[in-house]
Amino acid sequence: MMGVILFAIFATAAVACGINLVLQRHPVTSALSLIGVMGSLAVLYLLLGAEFIAAVQLIVYAGAIMVLFLFVIMLLNAGEERKIPGKSLVSKLIGLPVFVLFLGLVAYLIQTQYTHAGSPVEFDAFTGGGPREVGKALFTTYLLPFEVTSVLILIAILGAIVLARKEID
């Protein structure tokens, strides 16, 4: 009962924020909308029993990464997109209906595919998503990929430094 209401609220919020992300011309507004999507998704993760992921979503994603985005926006002093007249009209007139139609098709497919398979989502039906369980899985079954991600992040840091540093002539 509770789950249904929460899903309805946050799903609507996520979609609304997503639409806002796409429609806004200013990157800062888009970034804030994205944070909104992420926050909504974090609640949905909780509903799905993924506590750890919900936390990480808020802390790392909405917190750290999006702050990085905002920094960059600020750093570059990015303004609004310029409007290019004419061209966008065609894509809106044809592209949007097609896009909506396509989404409808996908939704229909999913609906027909998943009516029979699987039970409906119940809050507390699955409790294997706490930090303990996830941590155990990460350090046993997924140990190697987990360690590799650390290397990946190291490389990413190095790459970012190399790319972003000032040219030394």
Binding site: L34, S91, I110, G118, V121, E122, A137, A156, L163
Partner: protein
């Protein structure tokens, strides 16, 4: 807190609702990627798509009653973090070299 809510048309949220939500968010990400010309917004659209995928992972994890899907979404987040770091660095470099964030003006990737 003794009040009763009117009965909802459905008792529980079906799996498909999560998946459709994921699809919609993914589609919005695509739209953003295609329609926005600001490099940073484009990049954020990619993040949106990643999030949409993560939602599917977690939903399936719930359905399978296994944490593995969550682990995947965890890795996706890690990769997204790394990607964001490098990607934003690239955007910085591009801006430094070209003084623009317009996607359409960065079209040197051709013969």
């Amino acid at each position: 807190m003794d009040f009763t809510l009117p009965p909802l048309p459905i008792a529980a949220i079906p799996m498909s609702a999560y998946l459709i939500l994921s699809a919609i968010l993914f589609g919005l990400g695509i739209c953003g990627f295609l329609f926005r010309r600001n490099l940073i917004t484009v990049f954020m659209s990619i993040e949106l798509m990643l999030n949409a995928v993560n939602l599917s992972f977690v939903a399936f994890s719930h359905q399978m009653k296994q944490a593995d899907g969550q682990i995947y979404s965890f890795f996706v987040m890690v990769v997204a973090a790394a990607e964001a770091a490098v990607g934003l660095a690239i955007i910085l470099t591009v801006f430094k070299n070209r003084e623009t964030l317009e996607v359409d003006e960065v079209d040197n990737l051709k013969l």
